[in-house]
Symmetry: C2
Subunit: 159 residues, 2 copies
DNA sequence: TCAATTCATTACTTTTTAGTCAAGATTGAG
DNA sequence: CTCAATCTTGACTAAAAAGTAATGAATTGA
């Protein structure tokens, strides 16, 4: 269970844009430098994010990328869904071994656990916006734990 | 954020062994058939799990694999740690782009989120035993949600 | 003993993911 | 208009993960 390179770097690039004063934009070399990746790689990531509607771009001198929507309106689960295709809905089509379909047809004790795990992650991500990732480590860490702390699936107790 | 093939199939093979009546064992072809993977692949997985101490094996006719410990004593996070190396503790060494180290030295808003996500998963897995994955889909699903429901990180409220 | 069965280990091949390159298109400045 | 800066796009290359093959070693039973 790990995050892919595309998710990691794509997310980082978006945070760089979210970090920007309103009206400004970043070029590929600028993004690349700030994240320590190559400009070519940044280009590919921004292309994906552009296609998905998270960023807009302008060409030519003074061109660059900027967020297409307000950062506090973009939730991380939307981003992750674009950067790494959704496996939650197709688990049994993805891990088929040498067969065409999962062998545990119908009754399966694995699926609820794996799918449940992915749901937990999805759930956690859907509570965080891009805007909330801007800031220093301490602030973001506090935000994360505060949000996840509220993530209770238990019913309120009666007193 | 997805589970790797090794995690998926390794876990499945262990569940097959956990499913077994006490004293019995499964050969590689048997495991392979039950999981719809090749015997060679099953062999590699079982080799890993054997090295890690989750299963024991006997050779020769009537040989096979069986759990080295009681299934209700094996937690999923231990298994996953063996099947897919731990990324939780080394995030900034893994995604370094073209540099040697992460660029956001010291103060980073990404790390707490990524690390936090992995912690959530680790946490969820550490609450489930292999024994709890034996059973039909409905039972396991109920077990999973019941356990995760209790997974609250919020302090008890004062009244 | 000897042959069949089974695990053990390492090397190899294939597939997938990650990352790079190069040619093209658009924009703005002078 | 022309040029340099910049994004766009698809093909290409490299690296990592997944899966296969082959050889060797232990065990059992005839
Ligand atoms: S994992 Fe797909 S049916 Fe069990
Ligand atoms: S992700 Fe490593 S320092 Fe930010």
């Amino acid at each position: 269970m790990k995050i892919s390179a595309q998710e990691e770097y794509g997310l980082r690039c978006l945070v760089q844009l979210a970090n920007l004063p309103s009206g400004e934009s970043l070029t590929l070399p600028q993004i690349a430098e700030r994240e320590g990746i190559s400009a070519a790689n940044a280009g590919k990531l921004m292309w994906l994010l552009n296609k998905a509607g998270f960023v807009n771009s302008t060409r030519g001198t003074k061109g660059g990328y900027f967020l297409a929507r307000p950062a506090d309106d973009i939730y991380l689960n939307e981003i992750i869904k674009v950067l790494d295709e959704d496996v939650l809905s197709s688990h049994c089509d993805s891990y088929t071994g040498v067969m065409d379909k999962c062998v545990h047809t119908g009754d399966c004790g694995i699926r609820p656990v794996i799918v449940g795990l992915h749901e937990i992650v999805e759930n956690a991500l859907s509570r965080i916006t891009l805007a909330q990732m801007v800031g220093n480590e301490k602030t973001v860490d506090a935000m994360f734990h505060s949000i996840q702390g509220i993530n209770r699936t238990i019913e309120p107790q009666r007193v």
